[in-house]
């Protein structure tokens, strides 16, 4: 194992996959100098054909990724902030998500849209969305949200090797978080959840940056004699419903923590799937811990007030134990 920051792990995944497959190309705004640090050094290593700065042109960029993938490449389109996915939405929703389907499976579209998402850094409303639910609902796009450096590396490598469009979202502000990353080559399959902490009393599903506060809450609850099972889906589309449902069947209780706005959040979907799949085993109504249906504010105390934290998460878990 090696100690790596999230951004380093992502950088390693990109470099390893570009070295492995000459058809992997990367483009985006300022990817040469690298604002986030995740693409740093790649231009020098792989050259201007394979690593290119684009103009600010999300509409054409997202579509270019589709055209280049259809023509035989494996493009990685770096969107910088996930909110800019909206600017390039037409090609994502109408082309990338549907071209293979509409054309009867004639082609594969191996492409990755990557960017950072989420709140917590006073980036304000247009740079802080947790937009994964939007993309989960498109159908033809896989949606990946890693919670740790090791997951980020293994999942991104799989995303690049996957023959389908993938949206890879890294939690903004968590790029500096360090963790243990295997030194040897590895990948983590898409669509497979991980039990981050086993427990028999309550199933706590946490997404992306919410895994860390969920684990803290679980730790605190352990002190109260409550054994919480923390599950990170890691991939939201396709969702590993099996692992979640199996856990809920055992515990009979479910809390889902999601940084997305409440209405149609990933948490909403997970609660629905688990309720359908584990209805007979449920001992209490499942609960969601999400962000209210408002935009993300700038001022730090306001922003903090909206985001799920260990206290809110623990309170939701306790609420499921009240009867």
């Amino acid at each position: 194992m090696a100690r790596r920051r999230m951004i380093q792990a992502i950088n390693e995944a990109l470099a390893e996959e570009m070295a492995r497959d000459p058809r992997v190309i990367l483009f985006g705004e300022d990817v040469e100098i690298s604002i986030m640090g995740d693409t740093r050094g790649l231009h020098a290593t792989f050259g201007p054909d394979r690593v290119r700065n684009t103009p600010i042109c999300e509409t054409v960029m997202t579509g270019m990724a589709v055209g280049a993938a259809a023509a035989g490449y494996r493009p990685i389109c770096h969107m910088m902030y996930g909110n800019f996915l909206y600017t390039g939405m037409d090609a994502i929703a109408n082309q990338a998500a549907k071209l293979r389907y509409m054309t009867g499976g004639q082609i594969k579209l191996p492409l990755v849209y990557m960017g950072v998402f989420g709140a917590g850094r006073s980036s304000a409303a247009q740079h802080s969305d947790a937009m994964h639910p939007v993309f989960m609902n498109l159908g033809g796009i896989k949606v990946v949200l890693p919670a740790s450096p090791a997951d980020a590396k293994g999942l991104l490598k799989s995303a690049i090797r996957d023959d389908n469009p993938v949206i890879f979202l890294q939690a903004a502000g968590r790029g500096g978080e360090a963790g243990e990353v295997p030194e040897e080559e590895y990948t983590i399959p898409l669509g497979v959840a991980e039990v981050k902490r086993p427990g028999r009393d309550v199933t706590l599903v946490a997404i992306g940056a919410m895994v860390r506060p969920a684990l803290r809450a679980a730790e605190a609850l352990a002190g109260e004699g409550v054994a919480v099972e923390v599950i990170d889906p890691r991939t939201l589309m396709p969702l590993d419903a099996e692992t979640i449902v199996a856990s809920v069947r055992r515990t009979g209780r479910l809390v889902v923590v999601d940084e997305a706005r409440d209405t149609c959040s990933a948490a909403s979907h997970i609660v629905a799937v688990a309720t359908e799949g584990a209805w007979g085993a449920l001992k209490a109504a499942p609960r969601r811990v999400t962000v209210p249906d408002v935009a993300i504010p700038y001022s730090p105390p306001l922003e903090k007030a909206l985001l799920p934290d260990p206290e809110r998460i623990a309170a939701a878990v306790r609420a499921t134990l009240e009867r």
Binding site: I25, D49, R50, R52, T54, P55, C57, T59, V60, M61, T62, G63, M64, A65, V66, G67, A68, A69, A70, A71, G72, Y73, P75, D90, A91, N94, Q95, L99, R100, Y101, M102, T103, G104, G105, Q106, I107, K108, L109, G139, G140, K142, D163, N164
Partner: protein, 328 residues
Amino acid sequence: MRTPSAINLSAEDLLALYRRMLLIRRIEERLGEDFKRGDLPGPVHLYIGEEAVATGVCAHLTDADWIASTHRGHGHFLAKGGDPRLLVAEVYGRAGGVCRGMGGSMHVADFSKGILGANGIVGGGIALAVGAALAAQLDRKGAVSVAFFGDGAANQGVLMEALNVSALWKLPLVLVCENNGFSEFSPTATVTVGAIADRAKPFGVPSAAVDGNDVIAVWQAADAAVRRARAGEGPTLIECRTYRLRGHVESEASFLAGSYRNDEEVAAWAKRDPIARLAGYLDEHGLAPASAREAIEAEIAAAVADAVAFATESPYPPADQARQFMFA
């Protein structure tokens, strides 16, 4: 300029253009009849009157080159070498269609022939063509990518982005605007300012406005643009001024309250029919006997009948196919 010796096209080349335009015309006339009879499951946007554009451009392309097309895409599909049987079966919604009935008229594509697909999103094909041009540039095999789009699509912001990035990177891209005078039911002048060809100027991209009903003029403009692209010199914008002789969509009479153009205008453009014009040119210069064109007409009638028979015999796809193809 317009004498056979001045243009770089043999009688054989010209007959090939004629054959291709006529194939598009006759296939689409048939689809128009099918629609009228209520035999098509969905809407069709016919290319009748505009055949010279796709034909004159695609004559320069091989299967290794890419095209991205529009909602009015049957002509591009056939001009790029798409199989009429697979096209008609697709429009009929059959399992034997080029997309197995998953896409229909607005999504006909054949990637093995470099056809990235028709597109239901106005302007949606432009970015795909830019991406294929990037792939072609990286491949260094001299392939080019062509984006066909309408005058209406020219008002989408993506055109500016495409002009900028393709000029910046010198991508092997040809932007072909089919200015047929209408954006749906809005006459172009009511929604578009200036000349579309001029939109290339600030980017230093060469452009030309040509008579889109003259297949030789289109062929010549595309010849220069494709050569330039293959030589690594970057994109070109060609605006082809043409006219759609049919409605925007075959169903329009059923939902439009009034008319949006007058019969005289349609009649005047019908006189400039690109297929009749090429026939006239062949006659005028004695390049092909009438019998040659008659033979082509018969050959195409047989091809249409064959395509329709193939499509009619093809079954509808099994219902569980609706759940396939989302992911590889």
